[in-house]
């Protein structure tokens, strides 16, 4: 009898324990936010930047106790799954986050191919997805309602790199465009062409090559032979690094070389050192721009605090990703949504994001009907004395562009 009573007592105690801990758990409600992102493979380096940016935002908000909704604070818990730079995997893991892990909200990872696949899943399950690191035009041509991007479209992103010719003297006349053949970089190449024609630049060569191409010297020799004033490259980090190495090896010195992406990643200057001087790159953000918000502070403060945390300055994609997370947070706060987030909340969230006009440290975030950030002027930056400086448009420039590029032999 004594034993039986002991067992019953134990069972009751256990039940109490379960109920009470459950009570504690539900008392500590939090926003569970997930995203699939390339942490290894071709875009592993870039994908890790996005991860750093989201962690930066989450730590900042959690340090204040979480996202404040109706006077109460809810911490943020981030879950990231590595898609190994494979778009199909990104779709699979996005679905897993939504259906199995049942996260409250999701965010976008790095790269147009991955985000293209992941956002299709998000659309299906009515999860708003804001990306700060994908900008291929195709992403915005699907009639999606739940896809948003703090970046502009890829073809427009490179506009600053081309329009800079308006302030160069003597004015360049000819240009060559090369790029790797994946979605973002090939669109960047199209963008170069579009704006070069508008600026009266004659395109003497246009070629896309496989991203797996090991040796760039042979293609660069062909471009060098045509002697263009300008070289525009549709690139990611690795393509940009290989192009600069190849140009030096075959002694190809156009008057200016511009990249769609790569030089703004800190590794570019760190690795190439002096060889990175004069390189121009597209950017959507620079720390000297006069923007600010209550969470991150001014653009410059964001830049400095980021440096304190990671020992390096942020790339514009990181700024755009952090701003995306902030835009989502602002919409949640405005609507008074609390976790767990239900489907009707997410529908309201989508509608709110379409209405949103938000000032952030990154600039104004205003999503158009297609989800692309409409309120964002593309800028061009240049490596000068080992630092990236904003050189175009003139109103926002920190320095005048160095032009023409000093030939390799004279450096």
């Amino acid at each position: 009898m004594g034993l039986k009573r002991g067992v019953s007592f134990g069972a009751i105690l256990l039940c109490c324990l379960i109920v009470s801990t459950h009570g504690i758990a539900s008392g500590q409600q939090k926003f569970r936010i997930g995203y699939a992102d390339p942490l290894t493979g071709t875009f592993g380096r870039d994908g890790n930047l996005v991860k750093d940016a989201y962690n930066f935002w989450a730590e900042l908000i959690n340090a204040k106790g979480g996202i404040e909704v109706k006077g109460k604070r809810y911490p943020v818990e981030l879950t990231v799954i590595d898609d190994k730079s494979n778009a199909a995997e990104n779709a699979k893991f996005t679905e897993k986050l939504i259906t199995e892990d049942k996260v409250d909200l999701i965010l976008g990872g790095f790269g147009s191919d991955s985000v293209f696949a992941g956002s299709a899943v998000a659309e299906k399950y009515k999860y708003p997805l804001i990306s700060g690191a994908a900008s291929s035009d195709k992403l915005f041509e699907r009639g999606f309602k739940y896809y948003f991007s703090t970046l502009g479209k890829a073809t427009e992103e490179v506009r600053g790199c081309v329009d800079i010719v308006q302030i160069l003297s003597p004015k360049p006349r000819t240009g060559a465009i090369i790029g790797s053949d994946i979605l973002f970089t090939s669109l960047a190449a199209e963008g170069y062409k579009k704006y070069a024609v508008q600026d009266g630049i004659e395109i003497v060569h246009f070629e896309l090559f496989p991203i797996t191409l090991q040796d760039y010297n042979s293609i660069l020799v062909k471009v060098k032979q045509k002697n263009p004033d300008l070289l525009f490259v549709g690139s990611h980090l690795m393509v940009a690094m290989k192009t600069v190495q190849g140009m030096k090896e075959i002694d190809f010195s156009p008057k200016m070389v511009a990249f769609s992406y790569g030089p703004t990643v800190p590794d570019f200057i760190k690795n190439l050192g002096k060889d990175s001087e004069y390189v121009v790159a597209a950017s959507e953000w620079a720390p000297n721009l006069p923007y600010q918000d209550p969470l991150f502070g001014t653009a410059r403060e964001f830049n400095e605090n980021y440096y304190k945390k990671y020992g390096r300055y942020p790339d514009y994609v990181e700024a755009a990703s952090a701003a995306g997370a902030y835009a989502l947070q602002a919409a949640v706060q405005k609507l008074g949504i609390t976790p767990p987030v239900k489907e009707e909340d997410r529908v309201r969230l989508m509608e709110e994001l379409h209405r949103q006009h938000l000032m952030t440290f990154y600039g104004v975030v205003k999503f158009g009907a297609d989800g692309a950030n409409e309120a964002h002027p593309p800028v061009a930056v240049q490596v000068q004395n080992g630092k990236l400086v904003n050189v175009f448009p003139k109103e926002a420039a920190e320095a005048v562009p160095w032009y023409p590029m000093k030939p390799w032999k004279e450096r």
Binding site: G44, R45, L208, Q214, N217, S218, K248, E249
Partner: protein
């Protein structure tokens, strides 16, 4: 004409690079019949060794070559002696699986330790080149070309003129008979693998001075090495030079005169044709069955 000469020069130099990192693959296949799938990882390890010595201790990349040689020799020797040797007599599929597993282990350990960052070894003389009447010759690639020639010549000498070399050749021709003649097969295999790894590591060290390196760079190198060795003749070491040069020149001329996108496709078309028309490789001295 100048464009043609420049493209040809680029192709020859690229071919030299291919040959330098493929010779070890050919040697290992020729003697043991092992298709080594972690070959590219040995290129990567050589490259990273140079990168770290250069970055942390400012050692000139060329001075790291001996260390790269000995470190990779040791790695190759030990892996063969204690791991691969267990499956040397098993069907080829088993050695594919085993070397594929080692490829994954090395690549992912490197990724974990060194992260996915892209790195370059940029020295004060990076990108320096000679101008030969308008044809530009980058010195670092010329050095790799020289290494390829030295490696092939050295291996030829070693295999034909030394005791150890003759033991390796005898083992490759008839393992049983070599054993009867007193050749220590286990030792010979380990030496061969170590040697193959060592020259591959040295090639990797040189490659780090003009290519971008990262932990997962290996597999494309293994694939190219495989193509080079099939073109030149499986198991025929000087064939790596012919295979490399042909591949380099074809790829370069394609990129210059047609389209860079076609150079990859043409590589495999070439491989396909050679396998049908000359299965023993361009020089006709490879192992066919």
């Amino acid at each position: 004409m100048l464009l043609f000469l420049q493209s040809l020069m680029n192709g020859l130099l690229l071919g030299g690079i291919y040959a330098a990192y493929s010779a070890g693959f050919s040697l290992i296949f020729g003697v043991m019949g092992v298709i080594n799938i972690f070959h590219g990882e040995m290129v990567m390890l050589g490259a990273f060794l140079t990168y770290w010595l250069f970055t942390l201790f400012h050692v000139d990349p060329f001075l790291t070559l001996p260390l790269s040689f000995f470190s990779l020799f040791l790695l190759g020797y030990l892996v063969q002696r204690f791991v691969i040797h267990r499956v040397v007599d098993a069907p080829p599929m088993i050695s594919y699986i085993l070397t594929f597993g080692i490829h994954l282990i090395i690549a992912y350990t490197a990724l974990w330790v060194w992260t996915a960052d892209f790195r370059t070894v940029t020295t004060s003389y990076s990108g320096w080149n000679a101008d030969l009447g308008g044809v530009i010759i980058p010195y670092a690639r010329l050095a790799t070309f020289g290494l390829a020639l030295a490696v092939v010549a050295g291996l030829y000498f070693l295999l034909n003129k030394t005791e150890a070399g003759r033991a390796i050749q005898a083992t490759a021709q008839d393992e049983e008979l070599a054993r009867l003649m007193g050749v220590n097969i286990t030792q010979t295999f380990a030496l061969t693998f170590g040697l193959g790894a060592a020259i591959t590591g040295v090639a990797g060290s040189l490659i780090s001075t003009y290519f971008v390196i990262f932990p997962q760079m290996g597999l494309p190198y293994t694939i190219i090495a495989f193509c080079v060795v099939v073109l030149g003749g499986m198991g025929y070491v000087p064939g790596a030079l012919w295979g490399g040069l042909i591949l380099g020149v074809v790829q370069s001329l394609t990129a210059t005169y047609l389209n860079a996108g076609l150079s990859g496709a043409l590589t495999f078309i070439l491989l396909f044709i050679v396998l049908i028309v000359r299965p023993a490789g361009i020089a006709g001295k490879g192992i066919v069955d």
